[in-house]
Amino acid sequence: MLPETPRAELRLEVRGVSKFFGDHAALREVQLEVSPGDAVLLYGANGAGKTTLLRLMASLARPTSGEVLFAGRDITQEAAAAKSAIGFASHATLLYNELSVRENLEFFGMLFGLKDLQVRVDHELDRFGLRDRERVLVRELSRGLQQRVSLARALLHDPLFLLLDEPFTGLDRRSTEQLEALLKQRPEQGKAVVFSTHNFQQGAALAQRLVALEAGRVRYNGPLVQAPLEALGITPDTEAMHA
């Protein structure tokens, strides 16, 4: 992972990015910069562009215009380094139904070329309370358990940037608390977290920065404490308004 680049300079930048699906603009002229240690909450109603933005940052999609940079260079040019530094989890679990929990984690760990694979797999199984289900096929797990495996997969290579799209979906209370603790912990360890959620209060408790999206445009990008919540239409019961 670009050994000559100081960690603090390994920024993930979105510069003037627009993304169109046919005539529909999912994102328009989006600017965003994420540095190690950041905890960023992506907030917006359905269709605001949160998922598209996260997919672009994970290099799963290409912008129609603008660019996504990693360490100052186009993410497609630094694909290997960027992918090693990014962990991504979304609505789709990205897991094989016919493989067990452990087999899935081992498979993706091998693709990342992890040297201490078994140690890392064991660590993630313990972290997400999956040890007793490690031999169970993914298709036999509940949605919440699949989400836990998906999060374990995203964290397996200990990424510098963790991108999570609605990570709390399907999680029970205990798993939610564990994930909240994890999301608080990672910025303290000098790693960045960018996540989206419909639950503003939950997200605000975990993030330092708010990026509010509306119809594909960034309406606010700055410290959460300074965010003009009323002007953004965010109130304690915003969840109900936006969900």
Binding site: K83, S84, F88, A92, L95, N97, F107
Partner: protein, 225 residues
């Protein structure tokens, strides 16, 4: 070196998935054997005419069984967007293609062995005199056909009518491999009446290499949305 390792990891994963659900290989073999039987009953050929029809019967069986397998190969990748999961890893897209191709090649090769065995029994035809030549033709023909099946399978996986789309996309291109392979196989079964045993094999190998390399190079663009 890393790409070879990735190729092997993906191949082993596909074998494991197939071992668990046993959907692809069984359906390919059954379908292929049914085609061999159907042609036999439909054509009612005299033994002397068999040499003309057997290459067509076999390659039609290989082609249709292959389509079945290629569709299934990306069904497991489509579920839960697993293909995206693979593209998140710092690996060369061509290694993903090669891994999927190797799995497709393996499943189709197994189905072909079963079809050839059944055809040998049913048509009372000995493949032994032309076995070496036929194996080479089958290898190159299958490689090119599986390469096309892998890339078009990946393209079709993202479309709405994916089962239909694969056939519609693949057959116009695969036509060239199948035609050359049928012709070369017919020559081999007849004992190479024109005296040149290598020309047919080389033609199939040439086209197959072109299609395989082109598919390998284009796969990266297929992965992008």
């Amino acid at each position: 070196m890393r790409s070879l390792e990735v190729l092997w990891i993906i191949f082993r994963k596909d074998l494991r998935v197939e071992w668990r659900n046993r959907e692809t290989l069984v359906s390919m073999c059954v379908f292929g054997v049914l085609i061999v039987f159907l042609f036999n009953f439909g054509l009612q050929l005299a033994p002397t005419e068999m040499l003309l029809s057997l290459p067509v019967v076999l390659w039609a069986g290989f082609a249709f069984a292959g389509v079945l397998g290629f569709n299934r190969a990306f069904a497991s990748e489509r579920e839960n967007s697993c293909l995206e999961g693979m593209t998140l890893a710092p690996i060369d897209p061509s290694a993903i293609f090669a891994g999927k191709l190797l799995a497709n090649l393996f499943f189709l090769a197994v189905a072909e062995v079963v079809m050839v065995f059944i055809a040998a029994l049913w048509y009372n035809f000995s493949f032994l005199p032309s076995l070496g030549q036929f194996v080479l033709i089958a290898f190159w023909g299958t490689l090119g056909y599986a390469a096309l099946g892998t890339i078009f399978g990946a393209i079709a996986a993202n479309t709405r009518m994916r089962e239909v789309m694969l056939t519609v996309l693949q057959f116009p291109v695969a036509f060239w491999i199948l035609m050359l392979a049928m012709d070369a196989t017919a020559q081999a079964f007849r004992g190479n009446p024109n005296g040149d045993a290598t020309a047919g094999v080389l033609r199939v190998a040439g086209v197959s290499i072109v299609f395989t390399v082109a598919s390998l190079l284009l796969f990266e663009y297929v992965l992008e949305e």
